[in-house]
Amino acid sequence: MNPPIVKFTIDGKEYLAAAGTYIIDVARESGIFIPTLCNIPGVKPRGACRMCTVSVNGRFMAACTTPASDGMEVRTSSPELEDLRRAILEVMFVEGNHLCPVCEKSGNCDLQALAYRYQIMVPRFPFQFPHRTIDAANPRLVKDHNRCILCKRCIRTVKDAKGRSFFAFRRRGHKIEISIDHEMADLMTDEIAGQAADICPTGALLRKEGGYRIPIAERKYEKVAIGAPDGTDTR
């Protein structure tokens, strides 16, 4: 039995979708840009970064975890929403230690790309300069907590054949961090290590022995800005 079709509007324009489809997926398929750092198409969403916050019938909701429903009125942009997203980005920049010029992920980093899009010069919040560690014990991966934005992408997707997670959260609140199962990580294949590094939206998870394969200026967001329509070359 096919799910029923629901009718709703995004930014005043009418859309149809199967019931249960998330707002962010409808937008993505329709070429409407909603920024996100934690969402991965096809993977159960978690609403961790809150960047995709939109207005649904006048209330703030995360577009990645809110299914479209009949009669819903979604607004993806307003001065208030844009400032909110800018503030959330700024929060992420001050809660960690993000030094783009010395980061291998520069140019391939979603956080950096969004910061350019939102023209963040100086965050409104004071830098926290937290003491964060770098875990390089694993033969294939470096885990740099300075750059982690706690989006849970690695936790949600990187699993072994038995379905066990390599990554997990540890502690809670502002002391939260990503931990890796060292026993399992020692047995991590190259393929899984590559998957983990690719899924990370920042430079928090990096492959060892493979830096700078793509030279600076040739990288993803150096060719096409985040949120630009497909095929756009911004250079």
Partner: protein, 628 residues
Amino acid sequence: MKSTFPESPGDLEFGEIAFQDTMIKSVSGIIERYGRDPSRLMDILIDTQAEFGYIPRPVVSFIARDLTISAVDIEQTLSFYHFFATRPSGRYTVYLNDSVIANMMGREEVARTFEREAGCRFGDVSADGLIGLFSTSCIGMSDQEPAALINGRVFTQLTPFRVKEIVRDLKSGKRLDEAMVEGLGDGANALPEIRSMVRNNIRKKGPILADGYRPGDALKKVVKMRPEEVIAEVKLSNIRGRGGAGFPTGMKWEICRNARSEQKYIFCNADEGEPGTFKDRVILTEYPKMLMEGMAVAGYAVGATQGILYVRYEYMYLREHLEKVIEGGRKKNYLGTNICGKEGFEFDIRIQFGAGAYVCGEESALIESAEGKRGEPRDRPPFPVESGYHGRPTIVNNVETLCSIVKIVNNGATWYRSMGTKESSGTKVLSISGDCKYPGVYEIEWGFSVNDVLEMVGAADVQAVQVGGPSGTLIGPNEFGRTLSYTDLSTGGSIIVFGRERDLLKDVVLNFLDFFIAESCGSCSTCRNVPVLLRQKLLKVLDARGVPRDIDEMLDWSKVLKASRCGLGLTAANPVVSSIRNFRPLYDRKIQHGKDYDSSFDMLAAVRASCDAVGRVPTLMADGGGAA
């Protein structure tokens, strides 16, 4: 570096070989007790800690292998909850409440005495390993603070003198209950299965707290009704959830009844963690049968056969009592099969303990926790009534809501609606504490004004009242005419009174921010960070370094929290916002006027590190220290 807990000194003392020889059997026994079910991880960890005093790393690896889950999966649950220890935390582990009320009632002196007598600082264990000292969020004893949990037992109304006695007794080898020299509390607190010094402090009784409750009356009545009729009666009563959120209970039941599933669950939320709340403690102590009857009624109405009573870890001292009541209910056939002779009416209850996390009071976080996971609220939809515990339709009702249901069944919806106001029917059990003569539990009809409440509790010269705990509102005398109701001042029951002498910003708002910072689950970028940033701003203001713009920015930054997932994040800035709105002069008095930014510079602080490094005393700086 293989250690999962690199900071744990316990790992060094805890060799793998010793572990295998002596402990595999007991850990295996614990795992077996819960049917080798990874979703019972909370119970496995609670029992493990009860066995060893903490949860050693090799035990984590053992449990992981035995349940075929990764060690980090266990660690993520373990490290989420405040009361789980990964290193030895003393033969006697003291958790001293750090809530706003505890501090008002003299916590600081008590804490210093503990440190002096035990010979260690808070966050640490004495050198002989006898006493560990730790702080904790509100433990539900606001009417008898300062209070502490020592190995799960409650010690109330602590004074420096009492602390000296307690530590002396523990050092001399006395048992914990021998150290409780004041004797036992009133009512059921004195029962052999509780033996607690906690006092009920029931000051005003209404229909729920009234004497003469007869267990089973409501069940005998509902089994003669169709489930739909029970739900109709609950809907007619207009009762709304008493935990704070105020969702119409009848509607919740109806949605769950209509959800198609072979199994459904009834949860009772006994995780009251909002600082200043303690009414559920009293209900669990004095009226547990009523509560369990309410759960069974809910089970009958929605077609659920399994009930789970989720109790906060702080109330572990009630465990035996609650288990005994469940056992008694089974014997009387109020639980079990064919309840009260009704063919096919099956319902039973198990107790699930938490392990220290305020956010688990949020219904979906509570369900996650009961499934053995971190208490992170779920994304909604789906709501628990459609997909809750193990993906099945689940009702989560507050302790007081379920008790009210029993009275509604017994006396009828019309009777219930004759109390309270038009929109807020019935009664509310309040937990009142702070600067008043008679702190305790009061059952009032909705519609009482704050002035009525203050008169009732013997509070004079009141500067402010916090209605609904830290996530509620801080109001001043000009608003004391407002009424307690879902349409005006809504509350889960916590009311804290602040006298004229209290420093609202330092003693109250700062403490509340600390609370939200400590209790955030951390999964939203907003709630994880914004309270921390607001706290820094507030400290700047308290330090007389603030400028007018800082106050505007605090209000602006608070708005970022509106993008949070759950109630904790959405309300975490309420202490700041409501204190600025209602007590703006307190802020204005602290800040520097006519300035756009703070230009002060603390020379002494700036050079302290370098002076320390070279061993120089910065005496010449002393008089120029704070100047611009």
